[in-house]
Symmetry: C2
């Protein structure tokens, strides 16, 4: 309970940004017999008994798949195959796999999953409707008619604990497993700072008014490609006005409650989010006085 | 030089998220004779002598333009017309206008500009290439064939001062006005935390290695729709290896240098970014010991 490093961070990947526009460099990496391909089950990771991701050779890619150069790990080029994955099974079926992956392995997987998923959803130009083609070693697409360049999308999401009188606010979404509560969260919108998005979401979902917002930590979240930005917000009152379209229930919990939940105490008032979710990091940080 | 509130923040807009899926509520706002339309010159703001944005009536919208409900200001519904704006003239021609806009007015403008621009670039479904239609009172589009929903995009950008031995690193991009230096910056990629994006960008652009990253502030930046996330990063060495494709020059500057630049001292070693840019806030925050 002292680890403040969020899940999905710490990938050893060197992303080689400076080589993405260099076709000769890309060709050399593809021709490198030591080049490795990330092996996936659809979009899900394949995790070895030792808790590491499974890698194969480039010959394991489907014949019609283009390759994205993820970067270098331990000096070896690493690729992902840009296949059209089967329908997204969502995050839940793979949560057991994620729990078995060390954060650095999960981070490499997150980059690949978000990139593959983005390509699968962007075969056409949003500006003119024409098919697009892979460019920049798999890190962009270009329209074959209007030349518009499209880059992988990352959606900022604010996730926050409202704090009042030594307690924090937790809520449960209808889709959560039984007993699970977490920090409130929502997508940041155009024209907002992250502090403003935190204040808006807390007011929309729970009717509380933020008076101060402090940043705690961030993590990528590859379902499909969010940047989770975790904050703690002091609020003016503990009176909750629940948005029942977003949340089943919300409640204020004490430090003792949060400590019991993180410890997995069956008498705790809620089941905490898993360690790889930044909400978990947020609870740990709050207990640590951050 | 004591203001730590970033530009483009503080809009009085109540975004009315809960009404966006309610056609009757939207119709009532459109029928409200007090409803106001943000007046624009292409995508640029029209700024009155009193430094406020110009608003007209909904009758001022082009006949074929759809309307986006920005939200309420002072109890009055506020709309933007979703026109196809002329080719983006970029940020620079409107910088004088932005300097005249109070941050709250600029923030309302930023939301509208990013939203209008996003619609103009997303008339087709990126998944299947079919035309999309406006939904959610102008806050999303839906594919008319595959039903995929598309939401306005916000791109997280990290902008950071590397700090070493009491100095910070500033750089100039080739497109900057003469004498201008700023914090280094770059787009966050899928699979990265913001701290990891800061470290990667500093290493790519200047060859320095971050040992600790602290968050300072954020702002929306509507060219076309970024979330600027400002940080200060301690780095291990002051030896610069410049990426000359990204930067013309980079240099270490002292507190005295930064103070002189912010004060507009003609003897200062660089011209600071304008007050509405979060790089300016970052310099002020660094001087204030944040």
């Amino acid at each position: 309970m002292t680890d403040l490093t969020p899940g999905f961070t710490g990938s050893p990947l060197d992303r080689l940004d400076h080589e993405r526009d260099d076709p000769a460099a890309l060709a050399a990496h593809i021709a490198n017999p030591r080049a490795r391909l990330l092996l996936l089950d659809g979009l899900d990771p394949i995790v070895g008994a030792d808790g590491t991701l499974a890698w194969g050779s480039l010959a394991d890619a489907p014949a019609d798949a283009e390759l994205a150069l993820l970067g270098l790990i331990e000096g070896t080029p690493r690729f992902a195959a840009l296949t059209m994955p089967p329908a997204d099974r969502g995050a839940y079926p793979i949560f057991a796999l994620l729990a078995a992956l060390p954060p650095g392995e999960a981070a490499t997987y997150a980059a690949a999953r978000s990139l593959i998923g983005w390509h699968a959803r962007n075969h056409f130009c949003a500006r003119c409707g024409t098919p697009t083609a892979v460019m920049r070693a798999g890190w962009a697409r270009r329209c074959t008619v209007c030349d518009e360049e499209h880059f992988p999308r990352t959606d900022p999401v604010v996730i926050m604990l409202a704090e009042h009188g030594g307690r924090v606010l937790v809520g449960r979404q209808p889709r959560f497993p039984a007993g699970r509560y977490s920090a409130l969260a929502g997508f940041l919108e155009v024209g907002e700072s992250l502090e403003e998005a935190v204040a808006r979401e807390l007011h929309e979902e729970a009717g509380v008014r933020a008076t101060a917002v402090r940043y705690v930590a961030s993590q990528p979240w590859p379902f499909p490609s969010s940047l989770m930005i975790a904050c703690i917000a002091e609020v003016a009152s503990d009176e909750i006005v629940l948005d029942t379209k977003e949340l089943d229930h919300a409640m204020w919990v004490t430090r003792e409650d949060v400590a019991a939940s993180l410890a997995g105490d069956p008498a705790a008032p809620f089941i905490a989010p898993p360690a790889y979710a930044i909400a978990h990091t947020l609870f740990v940080a709050w207990l640590a006085g951050r």
